[in-house]
Symmetry: C2
């Protein structure tokens, strides 16, 4: 479907409560485990989303509006949460995410973006030319990538426990694809 | 990790609130769309989960406890929701799911399943011999399969809108795998 700004904002607005309902009271045996190696745990996913709210999405919106294609976005640090979440509990990170997301959507709404502004061009350091509309759709799809990943991280813990059923469970066939 | 019954129940208990936070107030432009062809919409996913609560999980638990391997499970109808959800709104289905899941977990808890009972064998019509422990782990992993699918259905709608970013978004590389 075509992107509509109000639909993008609606999806973005639902993510904090979704994560909260899914994770806040879940035992740490679920939330502190990952898919092996350097992969994210549920705790890591939330820290990553917090970092994105602080440094990625709205700063990039502003870079496009102020500088267009003349200034490339600051690259996103996909592992910043390893430093920034230090000492914070999962409930703290969930609260932080909800607050930051709320502020960012308020700010986004206040920009009163017109069709013309949504067509403005920006420059991604690796992908090249993108539009502001692409950026906003990506913000929402990035949330979905990490909810998708979250389901996969949790299911992975029962890969053996499900026994013969593993062949029927789509989430256990997912290899993670690129970033999540 | 090894399955622990209380961890399985904890994960199962979180799904209704997660779906509620994610979907209840989301515009129908998100919840009534699918990934093309006969695939599920978000609305279809919730209807499928409602059907599972009614006809699949607890009835299979009881089949194992009463009949062991001597009676195969009744096959699960993956498209029953097309009939059963007719005329129901998404909020109605979310309420129904929350109520049925709550009842089922109460009933499961009341069974006081011991390690010995969890090792009891049952017979799946296609997969053959399974344990009660396998069935319970699958119940939880099946929830994750459909949360995973839900993120993918929603992200799919912005496949074009994200522009060049599609290569970085893992959820857009997911081909759906088997059932979900």
């Amino acid at each position: 479907m075509e992107q509509k700004l109000e639909l993008t904002i609606a999806l973005l607005a639902h993510t904090p409560a979704t994560l909260n309902a899914w994770l806040r009271d879940l035992p740490e045996a679920w939330t502190n485990v990952n898919e092996g190696g350097e992969t994210f745990s549920a705790y890591g996913v939330v820290g990553h989303l917090v970092h994105g709210e602080r440094t990625d999405w709205m700063p990039r919106v502003k870079t496009i509006l102020e500088y267009g294609e003349s200034r490339a976005f600051v690259p996103f640090d996909r592992f910043a949460q390893d430093r920034e979440s230090a000492g914070k509990s999962l409930p703290q990170l969930l609260d932080e995410f909800a607050e930051l997301r709320g502020q960012n959507l308020k700010e986004l709404n206040a920009l009163g973006l017109t069709e013309q502004k949504l067509n403005m061009l920006g420059r991604h350091p690796r992908l090249g030319t993108v539009t502001l509309a692409n950026l906003l759709a990506t913000w929402a799809a990035h949330d979905m990538t990490h909810l998708h990943q979250l389901a996969r991280i949790l299911a992975h813990q029962y890969r053996d426990a499900v026994g013969p059923w593993s062949v029927f469970l789509g989430v256990l066939q997912c290899n993670g694809h690129s970033a999540g």
